[in-house]
Assembly symmetry: C2
Homo-oligomer: 312 residues x 2
Amino acid sequence: MSEAVCAAIDWGTTRFRAWLLDAAGEPVAERRSDEGMSALKREQFAGVLEMHLAAMGAGASLPVVICGMAGSRQGWLEAPYVDAPARFDQIFASAVAVPGVRREVRIVPGIAERDPSRPDVMRGEETQLAGIAATEGGGALLVCMPGTHCKWVELAGDTVTGFTTWMTGELYSVLSQHSILRHAVGGAPVRITADGPVFLDWLEDGLTHPADAASRLFRIRASTLLTGMEPAQAAAALSGLLIGSEVGSARALFGTGRKTVLVGSGQLGALYGEALRRAGFNASPVDGDKVVRAGLAEAARRNFGGTAGRNA
Amino acid sequence: MSEAVCAAIDWGTTRFRAWLLDAAGEPVAERRSDEGMSALKREQFAGVLEMHLAAMGAGASLPVVICGMAGSRQGWLEAPYVDAPARFDQIFASAVAVPGVRREVRIVPGIAERDPSRPDVMRGEETQLAGIAATEGGGALLVCMPGTHCKWVELAGDTVTGFTTWMTGELYSVLSQHSILRHAVGGAPVRITADGPVFLDWLEDGLTHPADAASRLFRIRASTLLTGMEPAQAAAALSGLLIGSEVGSARALFGTGRKTVLVGSGQLGALYGEALRRAGFNASPVDGDKVVRAGLAEAARRNFGGTAGRNA
């Protein structure tokens, strides 16, 4: 097994993911847990980190680089946003050192769009984007990053030139849990598949009529009452309508002519892949874990140097 | 005081409103409470009704007509939907008699749109619409009915020809209570005014870009983080964006050329009034209580006759 040169942590709101990376940026150990930012008090972050490092066999002086919501005001230590347009070297040079810990720990900042006509923020995605820029070989890219708050990002070489967030994932969550649609969708988790006819029908509906999403949502409720739509169908309809509306809206903003990358694997990646294809995007999928590791490895090199932090 | 000829009840999901009406349809007594359909078990409806009737001094044989969610499957007794297009005489003739109670009690059914390309339902609004048709003197009307589930209705004389629901009120509620926007909006109730600059800015944004609402929502979160937007401003922004998106979407569907009526008074009516005006609609406001009473009076006349149910 290669020697670890740094620990790389993606510390989000709900999830903690850690790797030890070798000099080539390849993972030599991995840990995942639910100890996300929102589950921790400020004074717990150091202990949780050391516990996972020990479990991976990290040396006492191995340096650590962190991205994600751990760097928010409500997280471990605030890493103030870098303003867009933002270069990756500038972002990584602005990583904040955590004081009073037993090893070097740096937190990568997010990016803020401060144009008052389109204020926006990201935290964590900037590191994935650095990984994408490194592996996709520069040039202009449109990057679709599905999730709770889905980001569409315009990249030019090593610079994030602009980005826009859609609240699609969170809309799915709050509508299916807290609105009248909870009766339609039911409580049980459902596996929605990208080739299901209900998902595809409602996806098309969203793509074609993104301006009418707030009314078409109620058709899911009406379908339950009038035609006995089942919970699994209602979940597929809600997912299709919301993803379709997002992609339809994004298509009108960005067009489909650019080289496009879709971040994500698994079920959600497949749903967005189908949505992008039907909307006319020619998107290449990339694995979210892989690109965040590549970005964190680059952040570690910039902060600790190529050989700094060998696993002593 | 005139003699009551019937009791008229608007029994919704969260609110109970009752009047005793005289032969001219004018209220001679009134009661309001939070004993909505969702707060009651089936066996409680009769007791709640009799308690309020007694408090209003209703005679033992005074007949009662009810509209709203009390007639839903989860309510007191299901009054099956009448299909659109639906005439008011047909709707009122389909009122369902509640068995096993000490007086005549009939529940007005809602309307179902069963066209599979646009399934929709209403319950309670059909009675307000009958009141509007009676007072506005026939002809073609477009009716905007703000609320948790806002309805836009096409009326032709005494017939509901079509309608569409927007989930605007519920979106405001679930987003401000359960999404990340709860941090922006805060917990305290806010009085949003139709001439506030933040409301108007975001209203314009929604009217102009209804397809982008799911992304513009996140700008409220970003504004909190980047420019210190205050909770009262965030609430006004959310309200403006959602109402603007609805009215922008409805304008594209219905056009602004028709004679238009806006149901509602108070704060919400004022916000929608401003939205309709800026969208180019020339809408006349009508009072929701007044038109539901007019509709219930008409339902009582059709069910119990002009002199039936005198307050014996």
